[in-house]
Symmetry: D3
Subunit: 236 residues, 6 copies
């Protein structure tokens, strides 16, 4: 991943990124119904690395399966690259956990950029204190074996109804998580930075009392000049 792109994406919001993708006809890249366990952390940015769960069959999911070091859940935690984001397809089912505190702390320690499930995490009060961002639908204490069998690593998946391909660029903020197709990441990041500058200007104008009509979008011819002046003054 382009380091400038990574840097840019740490400074823009998922809302702005959604709009940039919408302009290109991509309407379903926001992961539905997940939120950060700790909304105070900085943006999460990284390449997508995936884990797919299927429904658990009871005879294949006794507690002893983890004695097998090749178990996909454990392998995903050890293989997810530094700087990447681990996204889990838990079929939007938070009735059992997708992972718990120990695995999430291992990801954090390995330098992974963040972790997302469209199900739930267990040990969520602990995970909420970690410095690595984690996103889920809701806390869920039952072990994953109760309902979920980790079955495949780094396949294309769905996560919260969004399509995720390995290598896509994933960004999370306090609002949620968005998946940017890999080939668009550089241009989307650049555009989003520009949009953010303009939106900051608009916000300042609104707080100064200006109507949104003619300002957002800037159909009033005067606005272009005001923006240029503001931008120069701010050095952005």
């Amino acid at each position: 991943m382009n380091p400038q792109t990574r840097e840019k994406l740490t400074k823009v919001s998922t809302a702005t990124l959604c709009t940039a993708l919408f302009k290109r006809g991509l309407r379903n890249q926001f992961i539905q119904n997940v939120h950060p366990l700790n909304p105070a952390l900085p943006n999460m940015v990284g390449e997508a690395f995936t884990l797919r769960y299927m429904p658990a069959r009871e005879d294949l999911n006794p507690i002893t399966v983890f004695n097998d070091r090749s178990h996909p859940q454990r392998q995903a935690v050890e293989q997810c690259p530094e700087g990447a984001v681990l996204l889990m397809d838990s079929r939007k089912d938070a009735r059992a956990a997708s992972a718990g505190g120990i695995l999430v702390s291992r990801l954090m320690k390995r330098g992974v950029a963040g972790v997302v499930t469209d199900g739930g995490f267990r040990d969520s009060p602990d995970i909420a204190k970690y410095t690595m961002p984690a996103y889920h639908a809701r806390p869920s204490a039952p072990t994953n074996l109760t309902l979920h069998q980790a079955i495949a690593i780094n396949e294309p998946i769905g996560c919260g109804d969004a399509p995720v391909f390995p290598g896509d660029i994933v960004v999370g903020d306090a609002e949620g998580v968005i998946v940017i197709p890999a080939h668009l990441a550089d241009e989307i990041a650049a555009e989003a930075v520009e949009m953010t500058v303009f939106e900051d200007f608009v916000q300042q104008q609104v707080m100064a009392g200006r109507s949104v009509l003619g300002l957002y979008p800037p159909t009033d011819p005067e606005v272009a000049g005001l923006f240029a002046a503001w931008r120069a003054a701010k050095g952005r």
Copy 2:
């Protein structure tokens, strides 16, 4: 809106108001499944002003529609009266936003009393810091154009399964939002203030160790005297 009524409604809870409406046969005035982005703000009180969304048809909702200053979403933000509450019928669909930080800050700057959607807001981390109350179902980064087309201003709508008529009196607290039919607002406000005095007394009695039996409701003849004495002592 009667200023005394407004004042009274800043000091009572939506729970108390629900009970006052229940006594009059109104069971569905609480907006289901919305919560405040900032639960620490004081009560929101104002007349209902509405915006209705319908499902977005793609050809009618490119990003350029906002170049039209008469777009209903933008008009709603500029027309909603000072002191009113803007309620949005988003068909309980939070997969795309109903509005974002810039529009909400414009409402705030214009002196609007608050904003409610039965969908979601984008830029929700920003909105959570505003001094104007905002209520939604969950954060939602995608632009409204993704799924919602603003179609009509100040019509009767549904919001979170509650009926809302323009001019109804809307009250929000840290628990949620209730819609009081306009013609009942004065009497409901007065009754709710009285109920609150009694409930504060009951709460004090309970914390002093008294059983709820005979106290709440006060079927024990002794309670009337205790309450009168407490009320006199408190000057309420």
Copy 3:
């Protein structure tokens, strides 16, 4: 309830308890979709005492029903034993409240260990400040009479899709609530304490940089020795 068991259960997580129950073939003991109103409180531990709601029929649920001191909701609040947990079967319907601040404070004052509904509480901002744990699905201002009729005390019930028998041992933490069958409580508590010691060791190892492979579960022969040494050093 065995006091040692109670003490042990204050120090373990619902996640650990879920795993201990999973090992015994019990997969559905976690109450789905409830959370604590105040996640900062210590663990809730107590025997289950239950209240069952059925759908309210309008003619049987005017506001005056509470004049009857034998109303099951009020009786449940007065009868729930000290140290027990009151669990309410609200049919997972949070559109009206299961109880409010006054009743919950009465439970607290009476020394009840906590209260759980698979619906919602009203006066939730107040309840969130109490020192007795309370768990629900979401805030709900409407009085219970709107949708719920309290019909039976201390029957076996469902709560958040979990089976609850009176006398079961209930534990809540910041993640949620689990129901331990009464006859298993002592052994589950003892096992969970042991599991917690090991998991604390694992967490420390992970934070020191060790892979989860071979460590969790400890299939690497070296781990047993490391754990014994750590345990001795920690005096656990």
Copy 4:
């Protein structure tokens, strides 16, 4: 149950009965989301007899529990009175069956008037051929033990969000099932018969080309006379 009332209720629709109950302030007596397995059967009419299910705990629900002849599911099937309707509270969960063909045929053989669950039946293709009406949400092959434990007989329950008290009068037609409070059954039945006569007249008028305005309801003064004449001609 009054035999005339039973007779009347075989000839009116659940829609008409809903309206008669609505006029008395009862809005929630229609069992939501169930349908007849065989819509061609005549109306089901009988007193309510109930069975309550709670979530199944695995250790209490092996296949061997049915060796116990006092098991509540089997007892319900043997105890439900002739002419009554067995209603099952399955917590609206059709992922496992509430009962199957053998038990339903035993009910039929015993002269029971019908059976309703807000979950699902197994052996539904067989049950659809029986002469006793059965209503459910959808077919469900898994044995009830998978998710449901029969726990209590003839308690007040919820069924499809409707309140059901033992002895209430239950009526089912091709549209669904309604629960009439016992004390209202006679007057509701009489009123529904009258309403049906008028609606048949209205339908005939509509098919003859008359507008519904002034006819339904009959605010046009002419209609009373037309109806009287029609009624006389039809001998109803």
Copy 5:
């Protein structure tokens, strides 16, 4: 509406129409989750005429409201033009009816082309026997007043998550209902007829044993000739 277009639309399927709309970027025109009460009827084709429901407030919806001949539900039934389709926005809530047999028969008698609700009809067993197509989510006996207040006629609405503008062209078959934007109707109808001819050819080829690869779509150069010959032979 162009009579040729109407004629063409009686002979194509909603599936084919969905694909023609998909090619133009319109993905949400199929009304979700409704089905015909009588799937044996011919296609329903007509211009959209709409009725919007909002949640019912109890004091505004006693049974006597229908004494007012200007009530929007009754007016909609009398005003809907001959040859049009009446679509009702019932907020996807089938817990109470959108209309019943008498009103639907009045629509039929007036020459309306069909009726659609994203809620439910009462008297559904009768409506299923009518010769005018009707579509809903499920049968629902309670009168509309229980939950729905008819509030506006011929506004743009949502119906089953599809956008509906008055004058759009609506087509229903045994599978469901699709809404074609008015300005596209002629070209979509023409294209759908052509697609249907080709799909009939493909189906015939498949039944004769040909692989879909190269045939559907016809990337195999041979197919064009086969199709031309088939078409000539069939005279289509």
Copy 6:
């Protein structure tokens, strides 16, 4: 697949198979919420062959993708072995189709045993007339490209919350579809045949007036003899 096993499975119900699996601790093998388009067909029996869908990304799913003969949806239809059942993981999302009439008829023509999706089929009125069984959640006219991208063939998947591994044995009847782990198929089939004989006997006894107590299960010592005699008489 063992031909005797296949033969046996054509004669037993999914309900009986569910119970046989339940006895072995397998509770989630019934595919939830699907039904046959034509319930009059004989049992569907075959080895599982799978197709996995992920959410569609718009730029990857124009109508032209099918020009690529290696598209997984088309390949699945051509590769699924004769006598197998094609199961599609559509993430329980029936808002767009999983496949349509042409592909399903190609499967039929190729000798495939049946097709199942936990979403919906388009051209469902046609498919309902085919002689090959098809199961879905509900009809859905929009092309799969609208929401679903076929991404992988013959992986382990979830279908209607049931785990499916390629090669598992799939049985469908008028009630629904069950997935039997491959290694258990022979013994489950044999056991189900025996259970069916006994259940037929029980049904005959019940219809002759016998109580289910002591009969089902046969705890009454007399029943064994009756059954043996019945079995001998029937030659089963």
